[in-house]
Structures are given as structure tokens and as C-alpha cells.
């Protein structure tokens, strides 16, 4: 699950980059950059959840 989250994060980065290349108008560009950040945040949350589950199983 942690690795799935880490794989999702670059997708958000490429969404932000695509926003720059594809949308010259400010509004859709900002919206897509924010969506990219949202995807990255989602990936981070999934990775953190994966870390917490792994920790729960391996507590010392």
C-alpha cells in the first residue's frame, strides 16, 4: 500500500506539468495544478496509511 501511494504521487506531478503545457488560460491551468497537488496529497495519505499498517503489525 505504501508503494502504491508513492507511485500515485508522480502522477500528480505530471498532471501539474501537463497543466502548464496544455492550458494557456489561467483558470484551467490553476485548476489542473491544484488537482495535481490533490493527487499527490492522496498518494501521500495512502503511503502514510500503508506505513501505519506495517507499523501496527511489527510493533516491538
Amino acid at each position: 500500500m505504501k508503494y502504491a501511494g508513492l507511485l500515485v504521487m508522480p502522477a500528480g506531478f505530471f498532471l501539474s506539468i501537463a497543466a502548464l503545457a496544455l492550458f494557456p488560460a489561467p483558470a484551467p491551468r490553476v485548476a489542473f495544478v491544484l488537482c495535481g497537488l490533490g493527487v499527490e496529497a492522496l498518494g501521500l495519505v495512502v503511503a502514510v496509511r500503508g506505513h501505519m499498517e506495517a507499523r501496527g503489525e511489527g510493533r516491538s
Binding site: 505504501k2 508513492l6 507511485l7 504521487m9 508522480p10 502522477a11 500528480g12 506531478f13 505530471f14 501539474s16 506539468i17 502548464l20 503545457a21 496544455l22 489561467p26 491551468r29 490553476v30 495544478v33 491544484l34 495535481g36 497537488l37 493527487v39 499527490e40 496529497a41 498518494g43 501521500l44 502514510v48 506505513h51 501505519m52 507499523r55 501496527g56 511489527g58 510493533r59 516491538s60
Partner: protein, 433 residues
């Protein structure tokens, strides 16, 4: 193509050079804080690790990193590798000469930029070392630092400081002045903070930190004097760093420097006062190590925005950093099971992100906030996964974590054969057996 910076006056050059020679005080301060926040039986290993990391990053950056960063305009290949996408140039990789070739004939300002990066890479690599305290092997720490100095830091530094695509967002996409990071909040602190998270995830928590039942165990730092004195030294280094950054990267006039210095002090001060108040209310007494963390978080936030905002705005940024610091430290430890002895994720990653956002919100140029958001998206979506992948690969070859015996007797005896305080009786935690 690398933009041509306006010529620097001799006075500005001399001042920037003098400031950069004082910047290592920030490194010394962070090293002291890292050591103080660790346990006494690992203190010598921690401080030697800080010194070794500075040495390794200097050598690796000279051998490889400076070439990738490509910050020597006027030398062959300094324009970098440019990709054309959407009818725009994307300068994504530096291509400077190896082994600092051409340094002697490069313009003086370019040499200053390189010196700034030399110091910045050392600071960035120190940050994860502090988070791995009491279990991170010395050689593994040096290997992680070498990875940062050879690949990750130079790549991002090229994008931000050497005419790379992030710095050109203003020219190519009308996004303010492009991504702004004059004091290294992104290239040093957020990068270092995310590297710290990668180290913590890979190395795991200290033995006994998260028992099978009950709450996380408190493992307080062993020397509050180191921690607080480190904060004082850091202030001097940070002032030097922020002023030098304003001169080198923003080409600020000399008259703008006093405000930058005042903003740096205000940000740190507001953060400390806010955390002092928050911990006083929550725990009945102010917490020294959390106050130190907040002071540092305020300084980190100022790295992004001290040269760009007003004193009032700087106060607000520091105040927010100070309120967030103790809450985030508690959240990461208790709710997310992250064992971060130096608080690097809160201080460096979160503090840096706050400063970068503030620089975008308060900047007068239109589109600056979007440029800052794109930079943040790059750190979170590209830099962090890349660092994690590289550290994971290093860990497969050369494990980050010391064996159980090392943790039991302390990293000093295990790795160095002697402790930092030989006249002390070493306390072995029997619960580890």
C-alpha cells in the same frame, strides 16, 4: 538557455562572499541540535556523522553534482539539456564540466552561486541524518548523503537556481518571476525534510519507541543546552544565508538587505513565542525542545520568503509556523507512528512548504502563487518518490539500520568503540533484551 544575471557590483560581491563564509554557522547549529536531540550514548557518532556528511557532500558535489547542477554560465555545456514540449523550452538537466572544470574562468557571480550550492547541499544532507539518530549507521548515512549530493540536490538546484524550467516559469508561462527560493527553503529544507521521511520509513523507529501496547514512549533529547545553543548559532548562519541568497539569486539591492534580516529574526521570534504559548497551555510549562523546533521552523520558513515579504507578513508566517510545529510533531508521533527524533519533517519539510506558499501569496507579481504551487508539486510528486526509491535501493545493498546490539549499547560504542562522555555510566535499557 541560462539567463544572464545583471552584473554584481564589487561591494555586493564582497558582501555576498563574506556572508557565505558565515553561512556554515547554520550547519553547525543544526548539527548541534541534531546531536542534542539524540541520546547520550549516540552523541559522538551523531556529531561525527554530521562532519562526515559535510565532507562527503563536498567531495561528491565537486566530482559529479556541480556538473548536473550546471551553474557556471560561460563554461562549455552550461546551457544544459533542453526539451521542447508544448512549444516551450524545458531546461531539465545541467551539463557543466566535471570536477569543477572552468571554475577559475567563470564569472565571479557564477562562482558565488556555486559556493552557495556547496553549502546548501551539505545542509540538505544533514537533515535526514538527524532523523535517523540512534539507529542510522554512519556509512549508510554517508551513502545517503552521497546520493543526495550526486543526483537529487543538483537536479533540483538546476531547475530552481541555474536557469532550469522551474526558474523559467515566469518567462515561459507568465507565472510571476518563476519559482522563487532565494534562501533554499525548497532545494535544501523541503528536500532534506522529505529525505528524512524516507530514512524514517526505511530504517524504522528506535527500539522501544512504539511498544505493543499503549502510547509511544518518550525518548527525550539528551542535552537541552546543545539544542538551544544550536538555535542561537543557527540564527547567525540563517541571517547570512538569507542575505546571501537575496544577493545571489534575487540580485537584490543592498538597501533591501536590512528588511530581509529583520524578517528572518521576526519569523523565528514569532514562531518561538507561539510555540512557547501553545506548549504552556497544553502541558502547563513551555517545552524547550519544541520551542527550539519552532525557532528552527520559523527560520526555515524565512528562507523562502524573508526577502520577499514585509515585516508584518513575516510575523504572520512565523506565528503560523509556531502554532503548527508542536501540533504536527505530536500528530506525526502519536497518530502516524513516525519516530523523528530531530523533528525534521515538521521543521524542515512543513516549515519550508509554509514559507514557499507565503512567498507566493504575498508576492506582488501575478501568477507567483501558481509558480510556487508548481514547485511544491515537483517536490512532493517527483523529488520525494525519487529520494525514497534511491534510498530504498541503497538500503538493499547497505542497510541503513544498525543491528539490535548497536541499538542496545548505543551507536558510540557500537560504531566508534568509545562514547562521547567517557566518565558517564552508560545506561543500558534492559527492556531491549
Amino acid at each position: 538557455m541560462t539567463p544572464i544575471a545583471p552584473a554584481m557590483t564589487d561591494t555586493a560581491f564582497a558582501l555576498a562572499l563574506a556572508l557565505l563564509l558565515m553561512a556554515p554557522l547554520a550547519i553547525a547549529g543544526v548539527a548541534l541540535i541534531n546531536t542534542g536531540l539524540g541520546r547520550s550514548r549516540s552523541a559522538a557518532q551523531a556529531l561525527l556523522g554530521n562532519l562526515a556528511i559535510v565532507a562527503v557532500t563536498a567531495i561528491v558535489f565537486a566530482l559529479v553534482g556541480a556538473s548536473v547542477a550546471g551553474n557556471l554560465p560561460g563554461t562549455p555545456g552550461s546551457e544544459g539539456h533542453i526539451l521542447h514540449l508544448g512549444a516551450k523550452p524545458w531546461n531539465w538537466l545541467g551539463a557543466g564540466p566535471f570536477l569543477l572544470g572552468g571554475l577559475g574562468v567563470a564569472p565571479a557571480q557564477a562562482q558565488l552561486a556555486l559556493l552557495f550550492e556547496f553549502l546548501a547541499v551539505a545542509m540538505a544532507a544533514l537533515i535526514p541524518w538527524g532523523s535517523g539518530a540512534d539507529r542510522f549507521r554512519l556509512t549508510a548515512g554517508c551513502a545517503a548523503a552521497a546520493i543526495l549530493a550526486a543526483i537529487v540536490f543538483p537536479l533540483f538546484a538546476h531547475w530552481v537556481w541555474a536557469g532550469g524550467w522551474l526558474s523559467q516559469l515566469g518567462v515561459n508561462f507568465s507565472l510571476g518571476a518563476g519559482f522563487l527560493d532565494p534562501g533554499g527553503a525548497a532545494a535544501v529544507h523541503v528536500l532534506g525534510g522529505f529525505s528524512a521521511l524516507a530514512v524514517i520509513w526505511i530504517a524504522g523507529p528506535r527500539k522501544g519507541k512504539f511498544p505493543k501496547e499503549g502510547f509511544a514512549t518518550a525518548l527525550p533529547g539528551h542535552n537541552a543546552v546543545y539544542i538551544l545553543f544550536g538555535c542561537m548559532i543557527s540564527l547567525v548562519g540563517w541571517l547570512a544565508w538569507n542575505l546571501a541568497g537575496a544577493l545571489v539569486w534575487l540580485h537584490a539591492p543592498l538597501a533591501a538587505l536590512p528588511v530581509t534580516a529583520i524578517n528572518t529574526v521576526l519569523s523565528a521570534s514569532a514562531a518561538l513565542v507561539a510555540t512557547f504559548a501553545v506548549t504552556r497551555v497544553r502541558f502547563g510549562k513551555p517545552d524547550a525542545s519544541l520551542c527550539a523546533n519552532a525557532w528552527l521552523a520559523g527560520l526555515v520558513a524565512s528562507s523562502a520568503c524573508a526577502a520577499l515579504v514585509t515585516p508584518g507578513q513575516s510575523l504572520a508566517v512565523g506565528f503560523i509556523a509556531g502554532i503548527a510545529t508542536p501540533l504536527l510533531v505530536e500528530l506525526l508521533e502519536l497518530a502516524v507512528s513516525i519516530d523523528d527524533p530531530s523533528g525534521a519533517i515538521t521543521v524542515h519539510a512543513a516549515g519550508g512548504l509554509l514559507g514557499l506558499l507565503a512567498a507566493g501569496i504575498f508576492a506582488p507579481q501575478q501568477g507567483q502563487l501558481v509558480a510556487q504551487l508548481v514547485g511544491i508539486a515537483t517536490l512532493l510528486g517527483f523529488v520525494f518518490p525519487l529520494v525514497y526509491l534511491l534510498f530504498w535501493l541503497v538500503n538493499r545493498v547497505h542497510p541503513f539500520r544498525a543491528d539490535a546490539d548497536g541499538e542496545r549499547i548505543g551507536m558510540d560504542l557500537h560504531e566508534l568503540g568509545g562514547g562521547a562522555y567517557p566518565e558517564f555510566v552508560i545506561h543500558r535499557d534492559e527492556s531491549y533484551r
